[in-house]
Amino acid sequence: MPQELPPLYPISLQHGLLLGAALFSIGIAGALTRRNAITILMSIEVMLNGTIVTFVTFARYAPTADLAGQIFSIFIMTVAAAEAAVGLAIVIAVYRLRHTVSVDAVDTLQG
């Protein structure tokens, strides 16, 4: 049974969650359809932001008022920073191998 549409103010639980779900889905679309490694990384950041919005919205409405959702979000951001560093380091390593003339690169192309 669909419930009655919630009011615009205060920002209702559903509207916050819908924003999160939309961001998450857009991120999935980008991560699965794009082939550029850095664009995929950015799409994953969009997915992570979708989950952060979901956590923050839930933290506002959660039956327990201990802010666990907001603290979880801070951890997600920390991990996202580490992930960006890891991802870009590996991207640079791949780039260096692909775009320099070396024996190894030629070998891989052949087999």
């Binding site: 205060p10 509207h15 819908l18 961001l23 969009v46 923050v56 409405y61 870009l88």
Partner: protein
């Protein structure tokens, strides 16, 4: 009846949400990586505003500092250091346009349907009143969540050591 200030707050939430969504679509659709990165900044910054409206003031500030400040700068560096795109082969499970769009659409339809039709607990119909969150988050990080906090330091150590080894040019 909605009071004028409330209307203003609600209006700005929906405006920022719309900007964030538009930016996210831009990230995914932009032809050039650099444009994607700019759209990402737009999304991340407007999300910081929505966090503040949703009662997470400290998180909004952290979002600006970490995401808009650190992560996007890192990504821009990555883009500048790799003038030609680093593409993944199709066999890796990415880059299959139709399948990807289908999966994303399925996730969107299922999650929005669940969100709208679910019976959320009755206690969740009214929000917790706004209050300063900085102190509570600080308390939490050093008491209840002390272990994950320490584990995050291991994670950053790994990222640092690994990035130096992997990205460094060898002679």
């Amino acid at each position: 009846m909605i009071a004028p200030t409330e209307a203003l707050v609600a209006g700005s939430f929906y405006t920022f949400a719309a900007i964030a969504l538009a930016g996210a679509i831009g990230v995914v659709l932009a032809r050039k990586v650099f444009h994607s990165a700019l759209f990402l900044v737009l999304t991340l910054a407007s999300l910081a505003a929505t966090f503040v409206i949703l009662g997470a003031d400290f998180l909004g500030a952290v979002q600006i500092v970490i995401y808009v400040g650190a992560i996007t700068v890192l990504i821009l560096f990555g883009i500048m250091l790799t003038p030609r795109n680093v593409e993944l082969p199709e066999s890796s499970g990415v880059g299959r346009s139709t399948a990807g769009v289908f999966v994303a659409a399925a996730v969107f339809i299922v999650s929005t349907t669940v969100i709208v039709t679910s019976q959320w607990p009755r206690s969740m119909s009214t929000p917790i009143p706004d209050r300063p969150t900085t102190e509570a988050i600080g308390q939490g990080l050093f008491t209840t969540y002390a272990l994950p906090f320490e584990m995050a330091s291991i994670l950053l150590l790994i990222a640092m050591i690994g990035a130096i080894v992997i990205a460094r040019e060898e002679q």
